[in-house]
Structures are given as C-alpha cells and as structure tokens.
Symmetry: C2
Subunit: 211 residues, 2 copies
Amino acid sequence: MSELSARSGVAIPTIKYYLREGLLHPGEQVAATRAEYDDSHLRRLRLIRAMVEVGRLPIAAVKKVVTAIEDESLPFHQLLGTAHYALSPQVEPEPTPEWEAAKAEVDALIADLGWQVAPGAPARNDLTQTVARMRRLGMGDAIRTYAETAERLVREVELDTIPVGGDRDAAVEALVLGTVLYGRALEALRRLAQESESARRFRGDGFSPAP
Amino acid sequence: MSELSARSGVAIPTIKYYLREGLLHPGEQVAATRAEYDDSHLRRLRLIRAMVEVGRLPIAAVKKVVTAIEDESLPFHQLLGTAHYALSPQVEPEPTPEWEAAKAEVDALIADLGWQVAPGAPARNDLTQTVARMRRLGMGDAIRTYAETAERLVREVELDTIPVGGDRDAAVEALVLGTVLYGRALEALRRLAQESESARRFRGDGFSPAP
C-alpha cells in the first residue's frame, strides 16, 4: 500500500478510506500484512482524484459513478451519462410563464439542431434558467450561435479525448477532466478575449482598472 | 421611494441600505418626507442587482465599480476593466516549474493571437492554473482552438451588446450580464452537445444514467 500511495500521490489514510467506502477494490492478499495492488488500482485512484479534486463531486456521487463502471452490463453511452449527470448542476424548474416560455425555446432549439438529448437531462433546466433570465433582460438572441459553437468544440475536440473500447475508468476520467477543464479554459479565454476586444474598440492598452 | 421600489422590484429596506452605502445617489428632496427619484436611480438599481444577483459580487466590489462609474475622468475601456476584473476569479501563482511552463505557454498564446491584455489581468493566472493541470494530465493540445472560438464569440456577439457613448451604468450592466450569462449558457450548451455527440457515436438515445 505504501508503494501504491507513492505512485499515485494519494495519502495512505485516504486510500484506506476509499477501500472502506468501496470506491477502490481490495488488492490481492499475498500475506497477512501485505496486499498487492496493480494498474487497475492506480487508474481508479486517478479517476477518484479527477472526480473529487477537479469535478468537486461529493463521495456519494463518486460512489454512484464507480458502481456504474463496475456494472459491465451498462452500455458505454449510459456509463458516460452517469458521470456526466453527476457533474451537472441541478436546477429546479420555476412555476412561472417566463420559465415555460424559456423551456419551450430551449426544447425547440435542441430539436431544431437535431441533438439527441434525454428529456430529463439536467442541462436543459440549467440552460432554461439562463435563457429565462436573458429574455427578461432583453438579451439572448445569439443563443443559436453559442449552440453551434459548443457543438463544434465537442465534436472536434472534447469527445475525441475519450478512449473508447478500453478501460472504463480511463474513459470516465477523460470525460470528467474534459468537461471541467475545457469549460474552465474557455471561460478564462472569453475574459481575455473581452479585454482585448475592448482595447481594440475603445483604444486602450489592456484594462487598467481604477485603483 | 415606494414608487421607486415598485418600479425597480427592489425592497425599500434594500434601497435604504444602498443609499447609506453610497451605491445609490440620493433623490432630490422635494419635501421633508419626500424625495424624487428619476431614471438614473432605476438604471443604477438595475446595475446593482445585475452585479449582486447575476455576478454574485460582494458589496465592497460593487462599491468599487460604482466609484469608477461616477469618476467621469476614467476612460470607457478602464471603466469596463474595473467591472471585468471585479468579476474575475483571483488565482494565486504557484511557485513550481509546472506553473512557470504553463504561464509561459499562456503568455505566448496571447502574444501569438495579437491580443491586447494587461500583464496583470486576473484571467492570465486563471488560465495558467487550468493549462498547468491539463499539461500534467497530458491534455490541452486544443487550447488554441478554444482561444479562437472565444475570440469569435466575443467579437461577433458579446462586445456588441455593450451600448457605447451613452449611460455608463447601462454599459457596465451589459458587460456584467453578458460575461456571466453567455458564460453560463455556453457551459450548459457544451453539456447538451456532449450528450448528443455521445449518443451519435455510441448509439444511444440520450444519456440514461444508471439509477
């Protein structure tokens, strides 16, 4: 176990906790005080760290994803879906006409783009909340441009990072890391591009905020 | 004041709090117990709500932005910068070789794209942190694609939503709302596109996660 800790960078008490919680499968017991761990344990620890540290998932959600990985009868697309939905913010629908109008707009957009998205996908409500807010403020006419942009990035980059047909731990890890880290990078890049475009339009040399 | 509250949707005690904090300028005193408020008060309340509710800024940060708005000598680009930097996550540099390598990569990317971004822009550190993490995990080769995408969205949509040459409150409000809400919409749309693309590649009908 100390070797597993050294190679994975995960502290021994943390590894013991993951074993107790059933997130990590036991090693092969080769002596009373010695178990052997292999690459599958290293991959699982990488996945757990990705979900906890990068995805900020609670342990209960990690457990759900691990259960899906270990259920080999669960098809690949549904395996990815389990991890993906665990990562998604849960937004409650609001019982207002504005919500209904925004929901209809979101559903129509998804249908119009030909996207295959389950009716209960959490990102539908997430997007509905933002569109409702935008509409109340007179914004949001460019939503379709954003949808097409998202589609291009996902098709050309993000789904390609997921290894298919091999280890299920590695596939889920790639999905989690790609979803979270490309999202963060895109957000920071939008802010940098805004500063630059503001400088270009309004003749400054980068933002110099008031002290 | 009750009319201002009714028209703005902001409760009277909240309006009084904003007056005390100097976020809202006083109305014109027309009688001992009666002050008159005009469109400038309505616009300011809209802006404060955008910063507090959508941008989730603390009152101290809102105060800083209001001070910048009221300093008419501050050029427009720097006014936007004050609001923009207030909205940006503050990431501390890490004293590691990985950080230095990622920082050099981010700086080279920005220079290569010809973006005009101040050396101290908070989004540089924010992006550096994500790129460092990606590189450690063997990801991140598509960063330039994301940068070009961000540039296109900002140039074609986001900066166009900012009214120029008129009311400074309205311009800052548009910047805050555009930055936050288009960011949220894009994030939800990426997740929807991922589900759809996974369905297309792996032959499902939308994610059906394990129960």
